[in-house]
């Protein structure tokens, strides 16, 4: 018999996983997705309580939660874009300037293993050589 408590346990575990991800990962987008994961855990909690109480108030709250999550996603992505434009990086550790005076910046000591990206395979072009076209730079 799956009771309310089982659902609450699953929601707590999902929330915890989301919390671990938010605290550890440094990619801004991954951090945001982990926050959304935490929200999903909360949503499960609400719907389980709605089912238990036999009324729909919990589901209404989840509806609003969805609306807020959508707004949050929009604004967060706009901000992430701005930060990327300024810092050319999606690393949240890039932004440490609000630290106390005299505290040194946190730098990464270990170096990443260099990965030799395999060069893309090239084929001899078939057919007539096309006219050269100036490559458009990617606009971000």
């Amino acid at each position: 018999m799956i009771t309310l408590w089982h659902y609450l346990a699953v929601a707590a575990a999902l929330f915890g996983i989301g919390l671990v991800g938010f605290l550890t990962r440094r990619n801004l987008i991954t951090m945001f997705l982990c926050a959304e994961l935490m929200l999903q855990g909360v949503a499960i909690n609400f719907v389980a309580f709605a089912r238990y109480h036999g009324n729909l108030h919990g589901q209404v709250f989840v509806l609003f939660l969805l609306a807020v999550a959508a707004c949050e996603a929009g604004v967060a992505l706009a901000l992430i874009l701005m930060l990327y434009r300024r810092g050319r990086s999606l690393d949240v550790s890039r932004w440490q300037d609000l630290r106390e005076l005299g505290v040194p910046a946190a730098v990464d000591l270990e170096s990443l293993p260099a990965v030799h990206a395999e060069p893309d395979p090239t084929l001899t072009p078939a057919g007539a050589r096309p006219a050269p076209v100036a490559e458009e730079p990617a606009r971000v």
């Binding site: 605290l23 550890t24 949240v92 932004w95 440490q96 630290r99 106390e100 505290v103 910046a105 946190a106």
Partner: protein, 656 residues
């Protein structure tokens, strides 16, 4: 406001105005050479007005004019008023102060110049402080409120400090000024305590007239009144340089010589005598206080005379002589319960009066010698100056003769009155009558010593082969008229003021004896007045002593020249020359422990300093330890929030 009061106020206003005007002159360099004008005008006019004041007071039937009170400050039962009282005692002091100050100011205008007869660098400062001093002294004698009197008392102390330290670049002068101020300060502490005690005993009065009236009507217990009188006497001991607080006066000779003449001969040091004389109604009720006063005077007189025997510095001889003569005045004051206070106080005041003249004269004459000798005053370095400085020599001789007490000169009459009062006190029914006899013998011995050392100084300076030190240069000639005229005037006073004032006319005792506070004291004690006839015994003995001292001095020093001490007297001579090692004793007992205490206090202060610095460093250290938490990394902040949440939750969940 009756006439004597308005005269008194005018004198005070003139002197204060002179002080302010002279001080303002320091701004303009062109006015510097006129700096002596305001004080001479003020003192001269003041002297004239004071003489008029004396006549007016003498003519009045009720010779006490109290002006005031305007409340200075009041707190609860304590009121300090601006209250002046003009009575014969104050009037005669006023006249003496202004008269002598005028001539000393005239002398100073000639003395305070360098080799080229240009005014000294601090010329303006000198006259400004001197006029302030005369103002404070006149205020002191006129004050009718203890607090006001203390104010002027401190004022004269301050001016003495400023004038003794006139040559402040000289370390010994600065040290002497400090010593004078601090030693008199010791006495002033007792003085203030005595005032407070009297305020309590005397019905919460601080005005002298009201206080004396109250105490006369409701005499407090004798022990408390004795304590109050002794505390007041502490102030007198400090200011009038009695044992044990006399050590500042010889050092105060570092100041310019006219300063010594004015302050340390005629006026400031007599403030203590004046205080006891004014508080006669209090002292008369306390035999123990009278004994203390008399003994202090006697011991001081003998001690100072002994030290003066072997001094080499002419001014130091005169300084110790002043201390000794002040001891004489206190000897007389000590008898004011055994003898009618009228007589005792008159004796002391008369000696004060004559002493002012001849001691000021002696100091000014030594100033003239110092000026001619280029600043040298050590008697071993000059001699036989009779031919070099004739006027100075003759005036000095007049003063020395008066001091020694040669017959018919002013010192003779005043010293005799003191000996008489001691003799009568010894024959009376006073509890300390026996000691008065002993003190009379002490006084006679001191008189002999006085004659000896005075004429030792005279012979060493003016007789013998003429020796002029190198510093004199072309100075070794008689001083200009501006300096010799005051000498002559004071010499005339030294010779004649005694015989004119008292012995035949009894003008002095008649005038001063009418002072209401002294009359009140006489009423309180009931001792019979001394018959006013000439005491041949005392006169004969004192003449013998004086002539004997002079003869001994002539025998030893008549030929002038270097001093030869007979071998058996060498020890005594060394003791006298080294001032009985009193200064060294004070240094060891008081000064060194105080310095040691200061060093310990500095060490403790440094320790506290470092302690407070350590405590001040603690917030900085705590901040430095906690600051790295704020490292700007958002995830680190989130992690600390999560960890804190975990801790908090565990407390909540595992609550027992």
């Amino acid at each position: 406001m009756s006439d004597p009061v308005s005269l008194a106020l005018t004198i005070l206003a003139l002197l204060l105005g002179a002080a302010v005007a002279t001080a303002l002159m320091s701004g303009a360099a062109a006015l510097k050479k006129f700096a002596h004008m305001p004080i001479i005008i003020a003192c001269g006019a003041g002297a004239l007005l004071a003489v008029i004041l004396v006549t007016k007071v003498a003519a009045a039937t009720e010779p006490q004019f109290v002006y005031g009170p305007f409340t200075w400050f009041a707190a609860g039962r304590f009121t300090a008023n601006f209250s002046l009282a003009v009575d014969p005692l104050a009037a005669i002091m006023l006249a003496m102060i202004t008269f002598i100050a005028t001539f000393i100011a005239v002398f100073s205008s000639g003395y305070m110049r360098d080799e080229h007869h240009q005014p000294d660098a601090g010329y303006v400062r000198y006259f400004a402080v001197m006029s302030l001093f005369v103002f404070c002294m006149c205020g002191l004698v006129l004050a009718n409120n203890f607090l006001l009197l203390v104010g002027f008392w401190e004022g004269v102390g301050l001016c003495s400090y400023l004038l003794v330290g006139y040559y402040y670049q000289k370390p010994s002068a600065a040290a002497a000024a400090r010593k004078a101020f601090l030693v008199t300060r010791l006495g002033d502490t007792g003085f203030l305590l005595g005032i407070m005690l009297l305020w309590k005993l005397g019905g919460w009065h601080t005005d002298l007239t009201a206080l004396f009236d109250h105490i006369a009507k409701n005499p407090p217990p004798t022990e408390q009144l004795t304590a109050a009188c002794l505390l007041l006497f502490c102030g007198a001991v400090g200011k009038s340089a009695q044992f044990p607080l006399y050590v500042w006066l010889p050092d105060a000779m570092e100041g310019p010589t006219p300063v010594s003449a004015l302050i340390h001969a005629a006026t400031m040091v007599t403030a203590g005598v004046y205080l006891v004389a004014r508080c006669a109604p209090l002292f008369v009720l306390s035999p123990d206080a009278q004994a203390v006063v008399a003994w202090t005077g006697g011991i001081t007189a003998l001690l100072a005379a002994f030290i003066a025997l072997a001094q080499t510095d002419l001014k130091r001889v005169l300084a110790y002589s002043t201390v000794s003569q002040l001891g004489f005045m206190f000897l007389a004051l000590g008898t004011l319960g055994a003898v009618s206070p009228v007589f005792a106080v008159v004796a002391a005041m008369f000696h004060l009066f004559t002493h002012a003249f001849f001691k000021a004269l002696l100091f000014l004459a030594s100033g003239s010698v110092m000026h001619a000798m280029g600043g040298v005053i050590d008697m071993r370095r000059f001699g036989g100056l009779r031919s070099v400085l004739p006027t100075t020599h003759l005036t000095f001789l007049c003063g020395a003769a008066a001091l020694a007490g040669l017959p018919l000169l002013s010192g003779f009459w005043s010293k005799d009155l003191i000996l008489e009062s001691l003799q009568f006190g010894a024959h009376g029914s006073h509890p300390y009558a026996g000691s008065f006899y002993l003190l009379m013998l002490v006084a006679m011995l001191t008189a002999a010593l006085t004659a000896f050392y005075t004429f030792r100084a005279y012979f060493l300076t003016f007789w013998g082969p003429t020796v002029v030190p190198d510093e004199a240069g072309h100075h070794a000639h008689e001083s200009p008229a501006v300096m010799t005229v005051p000498l002559v005037v004071l010499a005339i006073g030294a010779l004649f003021v005694g015989v004119v004032a008292e012995p035949f006319t009894h003008w002095f005792s008649g005038f001063v004896g009418r002072t209401p506070s002294i009359v009140l004291a006489a009423k309180l004690t009931g001792a019979a007045d001394v018959a006013h006839h000439f005491n041949w015994g005392i006169a004969g003995v004192s003449t013998l002593l004086a002539v004997g001292g002079v003869a001994l001095a002539y025998m030893a020093y008549g030929a002038g020249g270097p001093e030869r001490v007979p071998v058996p007297l060498a020890g005594v001579f060394a003791l006298s020359r080294n001032k009985l090692y009193v200064d060294e004793a004070y240094h060891g007992v008081f000064v060194k422990p105080a310095e040691w205490l200061a060093v310990m206090a500095r060490v403790f202060d440094l320790f506290l300093d470092s302690l407070s610095r350590v405590i001040a460093a603690v917030p900085r250290l705590v901040g430095a330890a906690v600051r790295p938490i704020q490292n700007g990394l958002v995830q680190f902040y989130a992690l600390s929030m999560a960890l804190g949440l975990v801790v908090f939750l565990s407390f909540v969940v595992f609550r027992r």
